[in-house]
Symmetry: C2
Subunit: 281 residues, 2 copies
């Protein structure tokens, strides 16, 4: 069922890409995995799931983040799914922020998207099951992502606190129900009922979180990010975290923008943050 489409040595480990027929999204999905040196059935490693942003595929992080040296050193696998279902039969739209490349990690309920756009189920359930069946990994998981993928990572961790040991994000959309990107996507995928939207909104989910479900959370944001004020609004999440005493470490980084140059600068810090909890299990 898994079709290997590339296998390249990097930082003494391996970067591999696969296609598989996904049931949750009802189409062929590509993902990439980095396996650190020494990972084997007798030496299983924990996994960091990385969710990418708008327009990305499994490749952006793997090619541009510069994460492998540190991940190899820490003995951590990294799995990067695509950002949406893909293919000729998958409905799309001529914009970068909706449709293919912009799945927003929700389960769509609206036609014509409900048939394929179930990225939430794919990332939370189907993909980890597949990874744990076919690769030398433990069941211990952390999750991170960028922008739309930062929304995905925080939201998924908040909804599934038993499934992840830690969560982090770069430049996340923390309050999609109040962000133009999020409003467009949630309207298209989920319809007009804002009670449904709230189920995928990190601020709302953190507001509802029980203290026993708190997870270590790290978020990094550049203050020269063009999307900061209109789309990202991190102060919304910071405020909820303060109210709730949620263990969010939020770091505003002077001069950095929304690009992978920002991610590459701080990815080692995020990997080390997750490593602390991945090893603790």
């Amino acid at each position: 069922m898994l079709e290997n489409i590339s296998s390249v040595k990097v930082s003494d480990g391996w970067h591999k890409q696969y296609n598989h027929n996904a049931t949750s999204t009802n189409c062929s999905m590509r993902f990439a995995i980095f396996l650190p040196p020494g990972a084997s059935e007798s030496n299983k490693v924990p996994v960091l799931y990385w969710l990418s942003g708008l327009t990305c595929t499994d490749e952006n992080f793997m090619q541009k983040a510069g994460a492998f040296k540190k991940a190899a050193e820490l003995g951590m696998a990294i799995v990067a799914p695509d950002t949406s279902p893909r293919g000729e039969n998958v409905p799309d739209e001529d914009s970068y922020d909706f449709g293919q490349g912009a799945g927003f990690y929700v389960n769509a309920t609206q036609a014509p998207y409900a048939t394929h756009y179930h990225m939430y189920d794919y990332v939370v359930n189907e993909l980890p099951r597949l990874i744990e069946k076919h690769f030398p990994v433990t069941g211990t998981k952390a999750i991170s992502g960028h922008s739309m993928g930062g929304h995905g990572a925080l939201m998924i961790a908040l909804k599934n606190p038993q499934s992840y040991v830690s969560a982090s994000a770069f430049s996340p959309i923390v309050n999609p129900v109040n962000s133009p990107w999020g409003v467009k996507a949630f309207t298209g995928y989920l319809g007009n009922d804002k009670a449904v939207w709230a189920q995928y909104d990190s601020c709302e989910l953190m507001r509802q979180a029980k203290q026993s479900d708190y997870l270590p959370m790290l978020a990094s944001q550049g203050d020269a990010d063009n999307f900061l004020e209109e789309q990202l609004k991190p102060e919304k999440l910071i405020n909820v975290a303060k109210e709730k005493n949620y263990p969010l470490s939020f770091e505003m980084q002077a001069g950095y923008d929304h690009s992978y140059f920002f991610i590459s600068t701080f990815i080692d810090q995020h990997l080390s943050f997750h490593h602390k909890y991945l090893q603790g299990e």
Copy 2:
């Protein structure tokens, strides 16, 4: 004359792209520069020039090599030119290995390429003069590159041993006069006179080198590189280095291919190698 087209903070330094009207290539040229933190008129830094391979622009290395953390730490600027002249008026061909994106770092003598394809002059003379005029850098230079750019780096260093303190390459075309890529390019740019070709062939140049002109040289090659046997032929250069007692450190790396995953794995080693000599001046 210099048009700044991007400026992004990375690893506490800056990645910037510029356009300028180049006289050697008779067209507008784009290049990228990484400036490490603290570089200023009162704290000038040395420069590593990076020459990319076929189909690349200034962006491939800057986005995929993961070099900035180490370059920032070492206080080294990195300059990446494009791989050829570009533009509507620049002659091209429908192949990836000749014409735009494939300048081969020579001065073309053949019509219609002679008007623009003077990448040798551009890299050796025009670009460093521009960089040293407009940026806080010293005149101390090292040079490196990948594949076609590995050929460029070694060849340019061998022809200009007074201009560089060290040279290195990943997966270089060391003997283009005996490589299908090189034969095609040299025929098109330089005509049929193989005595002219030899002036751009690293094996031939090393064979002619005077001991007083020897430079520290490092080359890394993956043994799972698809182009190894037909195009790259590193044993040709290794043999000349042995005959001449040339200070070439050649490292064959097991399992690595021709991609940027290979470069990202060993770029820190190359930067440290150059740093040793850049600091010595």
